[in-house]
Symmetry: C2
Subunit: 301 residues, 2 copies
């Protein structure tokens, strides 16, 4: 079975995996991004990793690379990565193709790659049009329309995390990790009943507490549900799709999120949008980044 | 020079015109929509109008039709028109093609048609990617991406008028004609200095007053600028375009609108979006509907 290399470049780690045509992760490795950056030669170190991987897997002729930021519309050049400035304006695909003329390289934004991963490998049947939202440190988003990533005018469409909500904050300012922690701390400080402790509180704690019905954590995700609902209203009005994938940390508390989200959708959307609206959890889990990157290689199949 | 028939179907009037390849309106006529509806045979009366027009202009082989509502993704069938329920779920293109097998018919939503009109006939050079917003009774919107109407997943993308603003109302609830009048009346009632009178106040009065520096009217359009700015932020984050056309009644008060709009854009958008951002007035004016409908005929050129 044909195999691909999928590379998920993140601010913390660069994950590299070998993925087969069915979307199974055959092996993976992790390299701290900081170590590559600290060499002062980030790009050449990154290219070296790929050289090595291709040498170890001579049967592989296609490599997909997912990066956390903006890229050119033709998918050849990186444009802007807030967390990896060494990656700004790099002619990445040309560099790699010159080094490996018999290998095809595919570049995509990471949220887009994860959406393409769901398109090809989701556990249930996936339609050709859907919105993908993932709540991690921030709120990532992507849309697949007619089976292809929606690129917008200049290549970097779908920053739904920056849509304005009714409280004047953006979706991400309301729902990103930082916001979840701030919300919980405020409630703890007010003396609301909770098992959460303010010291070193992180977003994972709040998710776990919410699944255990902790009242403060539940309130936090009720608020998330309200804002997610509003963000979906604005986004669906622009995209006209019927299927939404929700991924990332929030998905574990989705049972709580759902209630307010649905309330907002019902209040704000007419029948045309609500009919057959299908909001489901993303299915690829922890390795979505690598698998999504590998799925980019399907482009020319 | 090749000529086209452009038909702009509105809730009040059906406007039919002959337009040449340069976008010049050669002749036009107007039929009150109500008269056609009152016959009880809206569709067959509508088709009769087209038959007549084609008989009078035997040289014309292409007809573009713009309708105020939702249509099928393949642009053959009308789906939902709030103000002309007779037009819901009509297999319009088949009906017309059966009657006129040697004529091509093109169906499009009216805001989309107006955007296509600007694409082909705007007074200045138009890029292949832009957002189009027009403030009439409500807030219409469309996007042209890579020179084509952006249809989204199911064909009816771009309802930016229903994006939620920071005051919890939608863009249209904040900026539609009804909202402008309510805003002005509230200020008049409060006793704010103005030359506007509450009796039979309409949106046009407020626009004219604003251009004459009437303090209440100016405040109304300052508010419009703020909400338009927010709506643009959310929309541009999803579409990633650099050019925005503003049309409709608001454009006459755009000098006032602009100030707050720009303030919001500068506050909310990073450099990537602001660089070369070009927000300009739509150019086709009163006959944009007919000319836009005729421009649909360029599709197969």
């Amino acid at each position: 079975m044909e195999e691909y290399i999928g590379i998920d470049v993140g601010g913390t780690n660069i994950k590299i995996g070998v993925v087969n045509k069915k979307g199974s992760l055959l092996k993976k490795e992790k390299h701290p991004t900081k170590i590559l950056r600290d060499t002062g030669n980030f790009i050449s170190e990154f290219v070296k990793l790929i050289n090595l991987e291709l040498k170890e897997n001579p049967q592989i002729k296609k490599v997909g690379i997912a990066v956390p930021g903006m890229i050119s519309k033709n998918r050849k050049t990186t444009v802007y990565m807030e967390n990896i400035p060494e990656f700004n304006n790099v002619d990445l695909i040309s560099i790699l193709e010159n080094k490996h003329p018999n290998t095809s390289f595919f570049l995509e934004n990471d949220a887009n790659a994860a959406a393409i991963g769901e398109l090809h490998f989701a556990k249930n049947k996936v339609p050709k049009n859907f919105l993908f939202m993932t709540l991690g440190t921030g709120l990532g988003s992507a849309a697949v329309l007619d089976g292809k990533i929606f690129k917008g005018g200049n290549g970097n469409a779908m920053e739904a995390g920056h849509i304005i909500s009714s409280n004047g904050k953006t979706a991400e300012e309301n729902m990103g990790k930082k916001a979840l922690i701030e919300m919980a701390l405020k409630k703890i400080k007010k003396g609301q009943k909770t098992n959460l402790v303010s010291k070193n509180l992180n977003a994972k704690d709040i998710v776990i507490a919410a699944t255990n019905d902790d009242p403060v954590a539940v309130e936090v995700f009720e608020k998330v549900g309200f804002v997610l609902g509003e963000t979906l209203v604005s986004t669906l009005r622009i995209l006209d799709v019927k299927t939404v994938f929700i991924g990332g940390g929030v998905s574990k508390a989705f049972k709580i999120v759902k209630k307010n989200m649905n309330k907002v959708l019902k209040k704000r959307l007419p029948e045309y949008y609500l009919e057959n609206l299908d909001i489901r959890l993303a299915t690829l889990g922890n390795d979505a980044g690598i698998i999504g990157a590998a799925a980019l290689c399907f482009k020319e199949d």
